[in-house]
Symmetry: C2
Subunit: 341 residues, 2 copies
């Protein structure tokens, strides 16, 4: 049975050198004094035997496993998750790390489990991802590896990656303005007065601020602000229908694509055309947005980039505490009128 794996000792034997030499050469130590011939012999031997280091043995010795844990509250529920995971995955792959994915459902018991499981496996870092940006509960365990908060924040761990919501909010308004729309703009999904004191999340409030500041800068006010807590299509639909009974907006600034989706449905039923009659801008760049007719112009949530940035920060040698804001790209589609200015 040639079944056993090739070990470093086998390589060393074939190369006619010690395992010490083989180890130093294969791990590429810098100030080793081994001869070029030794290097060649070891590399050749390793290649011809198809040597692959035993990660467990290496981890045992070095306390590093070239792996990171991605601990998130929900992985499936949302279109968000996969973008974050995918981004993280690709950055991890680039850095020759693997990624353990753990889901906690937001339950403290499972969070503790997840952290312990990860730490048991000598992960080199932890990413706490939240599907809705917020202050994240992190179990109160001794964590002796770097931590990055992804799409969330934590007082204990000051490095976080968030979308640049303020700027994104501004952009949505600027898009409207530069399309020549300066009145009868309705905000769909939030009403500042009604929601006074209610807190949605870290990031969403920044989105609101960006929107409000940009409106003020342009000297505009909303014709109406329609509040709803869950930004799901049916609410967008209901709100828009109700709106259309009393007024005819020129534009809908929707707080996410699902609301916009509902709005499309209500507008469609009412025989109102987009963008000729009513223009729309929205947030997220959901898969949905590209399915709509006309395509929905939206300020995208940069999930993949956030995911990969999180991993890069985690693995970076100098990790400066700070919140990293990732740019929210404007995704132009057809829901705004062309401006010929």
């Amino acid at each position: 049975m040639g079944k056993k794996r090739v070990t470093l000792a086998d390589v060393a034997r074939l190369a006619g050198l010690s395992t010490t030499a083989a180890s130093m050469i294969l791990t590429g130590r810098p100030d080793t004094r081994l001869s070029p011939e030794a290097h060649k012999k070891v590399h050749d031997a390793a290649a011809s035997l198809g040597y692959r280091p035993n990660v467990a043995a290496r981890a045992l010795r070095t306390d590093k496993s070239r792996s990171i844990a991605f601990i998130s509250d929900y992985v499936a529920t949302t279109r968000f998750a996969s973008g974050l995971i995918r981004g993280a995955l690709s950055a991890a792959e680039q850095a020759k790390h693997v990624m353990l994915v753990l889901e906690t459902g937001g339950e403290p018991a499972r969070e503790i489990q997840a952290v312990e499981t990860a730490l048991d496996r000598q992960v080199d870092g932890l990413i706490f991802a939240a599907m809705r940006a917020r202050e994240v509960f992190v179990p109160d365990l001794a964590i002796n590896v770097p931590v990055v908060m992804l799409n969330g924040t934590s007082a204990r761990f000051p490095i976080s990656v968030l979308p640049a919501e303020y700027e994104g909010g501004r952009r949505a308004v600027e898009l409207l303005v530069s399309s020549g729309i300066t009145k009868d703009i309705v905000l769909l999904g939030h009403n500042a007065k009604q929601e006074e004191g209610l807190f949605r999340s870290e990031t969403i409030s920044r989105r609101f601020m960006g929107i409000r500041d940009a409106m003020a800068d342009a000297g505009l006010t909303f014709a109406a602000e329609l509040s709803c807590w869950n930004w799901e299509p049916n609410f967008g639909y209901d709100l828009t229908r109700k709106l259309l009974k009393t007024q005819r907006p020129r534009a809908l600034l929707c707080l996410n694509d699902r609301l916009a989706f509902g709005a499309y449905q209500a507008l469609g039923e009412a025989g109102i055309r987009t963008p000729e009659d009513v223009a729309l801008v929205s947030f997220d760049n959901d898969e949905l947005a590209s399915y709509l007719r006309p395509g929905l112009t939206t300020i995208g949530l940069p999930h993949e980039e956030m995911g990969s940035r999180a991993v890069e920060l985690l693995l970076a040698p100098s990790r400066i505490p700070q919140t990293n804001l990732i740019d929210m790209p404007v995704v132009m589609r057809g829901s705004l009128p062309h401006n010929c200015s």
Copy 2:
């Protein structure tokens, strides 16, 4: 610095026993002859020190790591992926395993990388997941751990988990029939004659067969079969628009929810009501399906269950080669007329 982790030796020392004893007790060996008092002492010591075994050390010795690798072609691109991952994750958690997620983009080089990486880490099993069901390329490496194919098949690895498409196909037709619809049914997304010889995938052809058999059993034929290769909303829209120019169907049997989405758009524009004028049934149970108005009745792809089944099979002691067909549930919403029979 009490920083160092607690080791088994520490536990043994506190319990006043050997590490051998501690190990045997904590791993719950069956036919050990250690006394009940010894058991208690070791467990107490472990608890009071907060002992957690070093997984790397254990893996080194036993060649088992309580981890599995989930190797998929695409994780983000599709709504499918997260369901599969989530299901797998929860089954893994239940079995006290962790899951490495690896993405290959379908590129052979990355597939090889992924398998080697996984094997290097002593994973206890490999899941190859395909986002589109198909015969999957598996790199020709010596793989000495169990493998399960998820949403795909491979000649080399006979254990696979697939949706029960044939039965699902039948159900879609039966739904129509039991709603009292027996004529003017149009199949959206496939035309048997035009696509003769073209192969979409393992599973989709079974869906077709189920549909055709059920139609035949009910003595029905399609009023039209509209072919298109990519089942995306815009094709559903175009096809439906074209269809409506020449005929008025009673029902659309859509081959997936995205096509159905496009069909909704075309129907809406034409002022045709669902389900009164045209009924729809579809496949997948995409997130989309619940957003539509009325909700889309669809035969769901059981992603989560597939994912967890794959892990269960992987970890099951007796692994019988076979393809495991997971039931596709009927998800009733409002796109079929109520039948008062």
